[in-house]
């Protein structure tokens, strides 16, 4: 497969997944703030921290308000990670590999883009926001389903899954991080029914509530954290994402599990092993936020290695191959 094509498929899927997760970010915040006791300030600043784009935000909007934060995450064309920007980028990538993906996939990306563009062209309101976020998630799920059902599960598909799951692992860690930034009215509220409501709102935003209940039965902060980080079968849990990403990486290179042929495999393998052989205590020693922060750094590191290994045009020296050499 052409390096450029592999790269486009990978990024197409990262952007679609990113758009979906930005919808989830906003949802988790809406859900949490809706349940705040009367008289408490709505908190939107945490969301900007969660995305890691707080500097770019502060530079243009100043103090975060509900309106500016949502505008920034949803529709700001100058924010390269806004849902709108993600869809523009996803579509451009899809357009450059139309002949490789199925036409059903292309049409879905195109419809998704047109939906987002049209919905945001008139601004958003409280009522329309909820519908819109639901639509974004549904469209992303539809794209995923169409990909699975209409694209051969060969190299291209593995690049697609790799991109999607690395992105998801990163974003699930950030959803978890929202809770870190989200201040409770008082410190005493930790572990109170109110705290529990927030944790279940968080699970809901990760579409994890029902699957969590099946495993743990009741909401406990540690169990929620363990579930979202360490579960190996829930598809939005970080560990699940790493396991399947690694499967794809090995399917692409053909190397065996437990061995590595390139930096990408080495880094991802180590990261996965850390979760395979770690427990919640390992994650919490030193602080959950610090753990998540470090994890996000490592995921970036894996992403860089994938680019170097598969996408970057390798320098080729053409001097020996041009006209002169043989013509003499």
């Amino acid at each position: 497969m052409l390096s450029r094509v592999a790269s486009s498929i990978y990024w197409l899927n990262r952007y679609i997944e990113r758009a979906e997760n930005y919808a989830r970010f906003i949802e988790v915040n809406l859900n949490m703030t809706l349940d705040l006791p009367r008289g408490t300030m709505e908190q939107w600043e945490p969301l900007v921290f969660t995305t890691g784009d707080h500097e770019s935000f502060a530079g243009r909007y100043g103090k975060p308000t509900k309106e500016t934060v949502i505008q920034f995450l949803l529709a700001d064309p100058a924010n390269p990670n806004s849902i709108l920007s993600c869809l523009v980028a996803a579509r451009e990538n899809a357009r450059s590999v139309r002949e490789v993906i199925s036409s059903d996939m292309w049409e879905q990306v195109n419809r998704f883009y047109l939906m987002v563009r049209d919905a945001l062209s008139n601004g958003w309101s409280r009522q329309s926001l909820h519908t819109f976020l639901t639509e974004v998630k549904a469209n992303s799920h539809l794209f995923l389903g169409i990909t699975d059902a209409t694209m051969s599960h060969g190299e291209g598909w593995h690049f697609a899954r790799l991109g999607r799951l690395l992105e998801r692992a990163d974003k699930t860690s950030r959803i978890l991080d929202v809770k870190y930034f989200m201040l409770l009215p008082t410190v005493d509220e930790v572990g109170t029914p109110f705290d529990i409501i927030q944790w279940s709102a968080l699970l809901k935003s990760a579409s994890a509530l029902e699957m969590y209940y099946k495993r743990f039965g009741r909401i406990a902060p540690d169990d929620v954290t363990a579930f979202l980080i360490l579960d190996s079968t829930f598809p939005r849990a970080i560990r699940y994402c790493l396991i399947k990403s690694e499967d794809s990486l090995h399917a692409i290179s053909g190397s065996e599990h437990g061995a590595y042929q390139n930096h990408a495999e080495k880094r991802l393998g180590r990261l996965r092993a850390e979760l395979d052989f770690g427990d919640l205590e390992d994650c919490l020693t030193g602080g959950l936020h610090e753990f998540l922060d470090r994890f996000q750094g490592q995921i970036n590191f894996v992403g860089d290695a994938i680019c170097e290994t598969f996408f970057a045009p390798r320098p080729i020296h053409i001097h020996s191959t041009i006209v002169g050499a043989e013509a003499q």
Binding site: L2, R95, V100, N110, S320, T321, V323
Partner: protein, 476 residues
Amino acid sequence: MGIRFSQYDPERFYDELYEEKGQPRPGSTLLLKKLASLPEGELRKRQEAAERVILNMGMTFSIYGSNNGHEQIFPFDIVPRIVTASDWERIDSGLCQRIRALNLFINDVYHDQKILKDGVIPAELIYTSKSFLQPCMGLQPPRGIWCHIAGIDLVRISDGRYYVLEDNTRCPSGVAYVLEARQVMKRTFPELFEAYRVRPVDGYPSQLLETLRSLSELPDPTIVILTPGIFNSAYYEHSLLAQKMGVELVEANDLVVVDGFVHKRTTKGSQRVDVIYRRINDDYLDPLAFRRDSLLGVPGLMESYKRGRVALANSPGTGVSDDKAIYAYVPKIINYYLAEEPILPNVPTYLCSDRRDRTYVLEHLDQLVVKATNEAGGYGMMIGPHASKQEREDCARRIEADPRNYIAQPTLALSRVPTLVDDHLEGRHVDLRPYVLYGRDVSVLPGGMTRVALRKGSLVVNSSQGGGNKDTWVLS
């Protein structure tokens, strides 16, 4: 009834569907009857449904110099153009004849130049053509064929005959629209396809693939399409053809010449490429051969081609045969190489490089269409009767400054086809671009791109200038 067929008036033009007011042509009766029987508003509804399909398919093109989002939906009209079997037979044989002659001509120009020595074409005209490429002298393309894929523009005028307006022998575009228009029409009028025997166009991609395969001796050559990238106006087509042929679409950066052979860069290292259907201009193919100032292209590609290590379709250099000044000589070219009379006539053409022609052109600018010899896509064109005094004067100055670069032709009363305008039909001018493939043999796709000038009275059918498309139904 919304459409009011009885009121449709072909006026003084040749109409493709009507002999005269209220009198459909034999092949069109069924179609017009069907359209007339649709309930109020139904035709408009189907037009809108078709446009939605087009939007969702992402069938778009880009316009150079326009900044609003790069892409536009390709304008489409759901009333088809019908070509009868006997008309088509003539077109088919005329195009086969033309493409054979043009290939013999190109090969001659880059080898012995007999046609110049025999004084049939002034040598001056060849050497001053911007499309004549010195680096192609002596090239030996596989089996001596240079132009494998051509799109020839035809027009029909008041006398009811088809004339060749332009030869496109470099990278003709539009065939994707032919394929997609048919898909849209089948969804829009399934009942008509049951009633009519319309010749299918879906075989084009596999025919094209066969043509490309014929350029290599290998049993299973690796074939790619080379595109300038997603910002090119025809990117949609490059992508569609790659998809339908199951070959890879590459950009110049995806290719590299290693040890004299062309390779593509893949996730598993570089792999050899045998045949390239290139959709980038000669100038940008290889910076070592053509434009040293260019950062585009694949360095070393031309040398590899010369040594027969990779095949290109079309070969570099074919542009010499679609220079609009050389076009004027095509009837003589056919006569010279094939000893036949042209089956499809040319449109009378005045060469501004000729002193007598030029004088005539400058005196009759208000009646003529002036075209730059080396431009395509309707760029550099001046339509005398529709131009302002200022535009005609500017045009005259350009001609006097560089006469070789201009030709003129009479303003033709192009035939018309009924076209949906709001809730009724009006006649709009059309041309027709059929596609010719030359692999082991010559074949013509039974159909083609009917371009329609959607603006009332306009004669400019190019999609970059307000033109749209119609499906073309060749009856069997």
